[in-house]
């Protein structure tokens, strides 16, 4: 174990010679630093746990005192947790700067040690540095760092503080392994590792049974997807004898276009993506995952982990481009999820549930993007979404934090997350209010915020892909396009509803409680501000050429036309080539006519109208606090409020039958049939023995008589 760790720290083995001019800068340290953070924080957490266990045994809680007299186990993680993230981010930036000027055609692979070498199967513990992993690395360490900083404020009074940072660091470690691993096998390590951290962090307040259950649910549902991932890997290995990215993609085109094998491989990979990225039908775990601390929701369940599925599809673009059916399924599931989750979000009252369903919906958009061959657009939306959704979650965290303290001040047990208890918060928390509005406009797709560019590109590519010369299912893509547009309008509505219910109108927190409402401390609002800046300008790095010249690009004023597109070209080139050969040119017109500029204009104007209209509409509705709210939703609203009863359906038709079958296997098959048979054999031999023992009378004469008869019988038989 020491050797691998040392290898990582020393910058590892030799980078491949064909690395061009790009010289990786301690890439192993990016991965290693969060791991070290985990180890140190973990040891602190265990120490801390011992102390608090003693208190618990006495029937008390550990007294954390006031800020000045907290134990070192509580104060050290404040520096270690975000510290390792900052360092990792800086290293990532240096690497990015080095790669920036170089057009790197082949990924740079940094090998450390041979992880598994068995017979015909070898997989190295190696990091792959290329444009895609670089972008992911920056997002993970950058946004991750901001969220760590925010957590310092959000979690400072939590008794499990060091444990929290230990888990968070471990998560970042696995997430980096996921995106930097040079093979599917290594990616799978990160894939399940982040699932584990998600489990631990959702169930972070494990004393609460519901939260603990939510963590378990997330893990098990994720594992259903993981089986798909495993099977896809096995298929790859059977075909290519390796699961490393470079050789697999190099030989990918030996597979028949639209053939059964490549379709199977990609569909199984997509099953994995469905589980991890919470798409229909495996999305049920994500809303429950909101049981975790809010910064966790921001980091894991919005910005990074849940986008792993999108990363997987983008990474495997060469395979997905070969399988038009799989791509259509990816886009189809994506667009259905986008719509489905958006409708559920319309009727949620818990601020985090709204954001959770919104995340599911936005992930759907990303899958539409990678499903219609716009891999760069999918990654683009992944990036902008990481900015504005992290901002929204952190903002909601600030709100919940304030609400919680408000209720705490009066020992009230009202729900601090229910928007019906909020209202009018803009007066108390102006910074949160402004930054969250920025994120809302971004997610709603209002020009010139980040979400506008990324979402518009995805929607546009859906139309363009369906209009390609030899598009596989043109009509289907038209349907996708319409649904995607419609879901965008729903997004604008439910997000505005959330903002209005939270920040506008009368305050409904309660007269006493509202006195304790306050703006978040700087350690919390500074990350919000940084993310707000990114949510505004983040989209400008990838303005499509066609739009740049129009009003959308301020007639050429916005910089960096299609930068991300070009940046990711070495990754997506193969897929684009396959696509061009087989499908021909993409269309320049939507199914209903009109080019990209027209439809971009239509969608942002429409979204703007929806935002304004819903401010009026929601603002005009009378919202009553939870305590006084007796009105139950009816009709379709009730179905929406209950999330289409999907959880109930799964419980009734999946979980209960399995539990029933398990009981049947145990009580009937195992205990009755198998063990019954075993015991029957035992009983039979006992019975026979008992019957035969009747001959043993204990009387000598009987024995002698039987003996004589026996001798005579034997003599008789032999002599006669």
């Amino acid at each position: 174990m020491a050797t691998p760790l040392l290898a990582l720290a020393q910058g590892g083995g030799q980078a491949a010679a064909e690395a061009g001019h790009y010289e990786p800068f301690l890439p192993g340290l990016v991965v290693l630093l969060p791991l070290l953070g985990f180890i140190v924080n973990g040891i602190l957490a265990l120490q801390h746990g011992r102390a608090s266990a003693d208190a618990v045994r006495r029937g008390e809680e550990l007294d954390l005192g006031d800020a000045s007299s907290r134990p070192a186990t509580h104060t050290l993680p404040t520096w270690i947790g975000p510290g390792v993230m900052a360092a990792a981010f800086l290293i990532a930036v240096v690497n990015f700067a080095r790669m920036y000027g170089v057009y790197l055609e082949e990924p740079v692979i940094v090998r450390y040690w041979t992880w598994i070498a068995s017979g015909t199967f070898t997989v190295e513990a190696a990091l792959q540095l290329d444009q895609l992993s670089m972008i992911m690395m920056l997002i993970i360490t950058g946004v991750g760092f901001l969220i760590h900083v925010f957590s310092v404020g959000y979690m400072k009074e939590d008794p499990g503080y060091p444990r929290y940072f230990a888990y968070l660091n471990l998560f970042v470690f696995f997430m980096l392994v996921l995106v930097m691993g040079s093979s599917y096998a290594l990616m799978f390590v990160g894939w399940e590792g982040v699932g584990l951290c998600s489990y631990l962090l959702i169930g972070y307040w494990f004393s609460d049974r519901e939260k603990s259950d939510a963590g378990k649910k997330a893990f098990i549902v994720n594992r259903i997807g993981d089986v798909g991932f495993l099977i896809a890997m096995f298929l790859l290995f059977r075909e290519f004898g390796t699961v490393d990215f470079v050789p697999v993609f190099a030989e990918a085109e030996t597979l028949a276009y639209a053939g059964g094998l490549v379709t199977a491989i990609t569909l199984f990979f997509f099953v994995g993506a469905i589980g991890k990225s919470a798409q229909i039908p495996l999305f049920v775990w994500l809303p429950d995952a909101m049981a975790g601390p809010t910064p966790v929701s921001a980091l894991i369940h919005a910005a990074t982990m849940v986008t792993a599925g999108v990363y997987l599809v983008a990474r495997s673009s060469a395979l997905f481009a070969l399988a038009p059916l799989s791509s259509a399924v990816v886009a189809g599931i994506g667009v259905l999820t986008a719509l489905f989750a958006a409708t559920i979000a319309l009727k949620q009252d818990d601020i985090k549930k709204v954001l959770a369903y919104s995340t599911v919906s936005q992930l759907g958009y990303m899958f539409v993007g990678v499903g219609v061959g716009a891999y760069a657009a999918g990654v683009f939306h992944l990036m902008t979404h990481a900015f504005f959704k992290a901002l929204l979650f952190l903002g909601s965290g600030a709100v919940i934090h304030a609400m919680h303290e408000a209720y705490h001040s009066t020992h009230s047990h009202e729900d601090a997350q229910d928007m019906r208890n909020m209202g009018g918060l803009k007066a108390f928390m102006p910074i949160t209010w402004v930054t969250m509005w920025i994120a809302t406009l971004a997610i709603a797709g209002i020009w010139p915020f980040a979400g506008f560019f990324s979402k518009d590109e995805i929607i546009w590519y859906t139309a363009a892909f369906g209009g390609a010369e030899n598009a596989p299912y043109p009509a289907l893509y038209t349907v996708y396009w319409i649904i995607a547009l419609a879901a965008a309008m729903l997004t604008a509505f439910y997000m505005t509803r959330m903002m209005v219910m939270t920040f506008h109108g009368e305050n409904r927190t309660g007269a006493e409680e509202s006195k304790a409402l306050h703006e978040a401390p700087p350690v919390m609002w500074i990350p919000l501000a940084v993310l707000a800046v990114l949510s505004i300008f983040g989209g400008w790095i990838n303005v499509p050429e066609e739009l740049q010249a129009s009003w959308v690009g301020l007639f050429g004023v916005l910089p960096a036309s299609e930068w991300l597109h070009h940046w990711l070209e070495p990754i997506t080139a193969q897929a684009h080539h396959i696509q061009e050969v087989n499908l021909g040119e993409l269309s320049h017109y939507s199914p209903f006519g009109g080019g990209e500029v027209l439809w971009a204009t239509i969608s942002t104007v429409a979204a703007g109208i929806v935002v304004l209209a819903s401010i009026r509409f929601v603002g005009g509705q009378k919202v009553v606090p939870v305590a006084q709210d007796e009105k139950k939703p009816t009709g379709f609203a009730k179905v929406l409020a209950n999330k289409y009863y999907v959880d109930e359906f799964y419980d009734r038709f999946v979980v209960q039958p399995i539990v029933g079958a398990s009981r049947f296997c145990w009580k009937i098959i195992d205990a009755r049939i198998i063990d019954g048979a075993v015991n029957l054999v035992g009983m039979l031999s006992k019975g026979v023995g008992w019957g035969v023992s009747m001959f043993q009378t204990g009387t000598i004469n009987t024995y002698a008589f039987i003996l004589t008869v026996g001798v005579l019988a034997i003599l008789g038989v032999t002599l006669l």
């Binding site: 023992s693 009747m694 043993q696 009378t697 204990g698 009387t699 000598i700 004469n701 002698a704 008589f705 004589t708």
Partner: protein, 97 residues
């Protein structure tokens, strides 16, 4: 000559056998067993006239074993008698299942 001896031996053996089977007194059963052994001895001696000296040799073995057996057997019967004050074998069925 041999035939007569063998017939006598057979008669003695059958008497011994029936004695063992029918009588209930341990001492008498014991004596009947001795009778059987000696019937066999008689046939050994008779056969040794036809087949050589080994038969007579075996008689000595049988007698030795019989003597040892008598010693042990009588000792057991005596200690049973001390315990139960009877030598009727019907009343001993401790070895019943």
């Amino acid at each position: 000559m041999v035939t007569e001896a063998l017939v006598l031996s057979a008669i003695l053996f059958v008497i011994g056998t029936f004695g063992v089977l029918i009588r209930r007194n341990a001492i008498i059963m014991f004596l009947c067993i001795e009778l059987q052994l000696n019937a066999v001895n008689l046939s050994f001696v008779a056969f040794s006239r036809m087949f050589g000296i080994e038969g007579q040799l075996f008689v000595f073995f049988v007698m030795t074993v019989a003597a040892a057996e008598a010693a042990v057997g009588l000792a057991i019967i005596i200690s049973i008698f001390r315990h139960y004050e009877t030598v009727n074998v019907d009343s001993f069925n401790l070895l019943k299942w």
